[in-house]
Symmetry: C2
Subunit: 194 residues, 2 copies
């Protein structure tokens, strides 16, 4: 049985780091600030983590892997492109509303990753990008979408969803689902869905 005062665990440390990284950035956050947040002295953290950089890597790896898993979970290859795009963007948008901190860190502090983590992360990002672009290209070929530059539309839609993390709050008038719904509609409009 665990101690009654089982305050510090790897998960708790990671969560506190996530909050601070999202607010101040990776380089803008001191390990001592994570400790203060948890009511603990700095060296104690090292019983539950490898290094500051490892925290960042864990956050980025988990998030980018989750994005890809989400995509393949909701996009049915048998669906029509419009449905594929709607489901893909709704899920992607929803993730950025419900997991804001992760999204902010991934999109701001990715450049602070060292190799090989940086390369792996880029590869996953590219895979998602290409998968989304393929949906758009198929929609254009099928005559369902009307858009001049599929690559541009793909960038636009992805970044549109990402930006949700920058302004969404849980206590606003719109729920995460409502925002995700609206944004998937925006995405369909961008590609000129009929």
């Amino acid at each position: 049985m665990r101690s009654v005062r089982a305050t510090l665990t790897p998960d708790v440390v990671l969560d506190a780091a996530l909050t601070l990284f999202a607010a101040r950035g990776y380089h803008g956050t001191a390990v001592s600030e994570i400790a203060t947040t948890l009511g603990v002295r700095t060296p104690s953290l090292y019983n539950h983590m490898g290094s500051k950089h490892e925290l960042l890597r864990t956050i980025v790896d988990g998030t980018t892997a989750g994005v890809l898993a989400d995509f393949h979970a909701v996009v049915d290859p048998a669906d029509r492109p419009a449905d594929q795009l709607r489901r893909a963007t709704r899920t992607y948008a929803c993730r950025h509303a419900t997991r804001r901190r992760e999204a902010l860190v991934v999109n701001r502090d990715t450049t602070s990753l060292e190799e090989p983590a940086f390369g792996e992360m880029q590869a996953r990002r590219r895979e998602h990008e290409h998968a989304l672009r393929a949906v758009i290209t198929r929609g254009v070929a099928a005559g369902e979408f009307r858009v001049g530059a599929p690559a541009l539309a793909s960038f636009a839609i992805r970044e549109l969803c990402v930006s949700i993390a920058r302004w969404f709050t849980d206590d606003g008038e719109l729920s995460a689902d409502a925002v995700a719904d609206q944004y998937s509609r925006f995405a369909l409009r961008i590609v000129g869905s009929t």
Copy 2:
């Protein structure tokens, strides 16, 4: 007449800082790195700048002021909302393609600003946001636009343009003007322009 070796000036220092801040972030950039870039020792920089933080403030102030000036320069109150939105977004998008570094710094390192610079910057950002939203609201009222949540559309369009700075390169197949043109089209689609 200036010396033949007039290498270091406030402008040159600011430009080097801008490049590095954009690439590594404000906290991720050391003053010594700026010096190295310029082939100079660190203390020499202080003959041409006040402090590292002042560099950031100068960048952010200049950029956000420029955004507002752009908006009022191209948006004619007498125009129809669709033309206002097209011109506003085209200009805003173009700025993010041609002044990538400034855009990246403003949208990533704004949280590193201290007061009162941070508050002033937020005020300008809000003014631009409200001005754009007003255009959309007028368009809806005039029956030119069909969009459920004008605030959401306004956020979406702004962030759409901002994101250009994250992928645009001068040596790509599309020019800044071409991208800005496409994106202003996306904006009109988002608001359901007739």
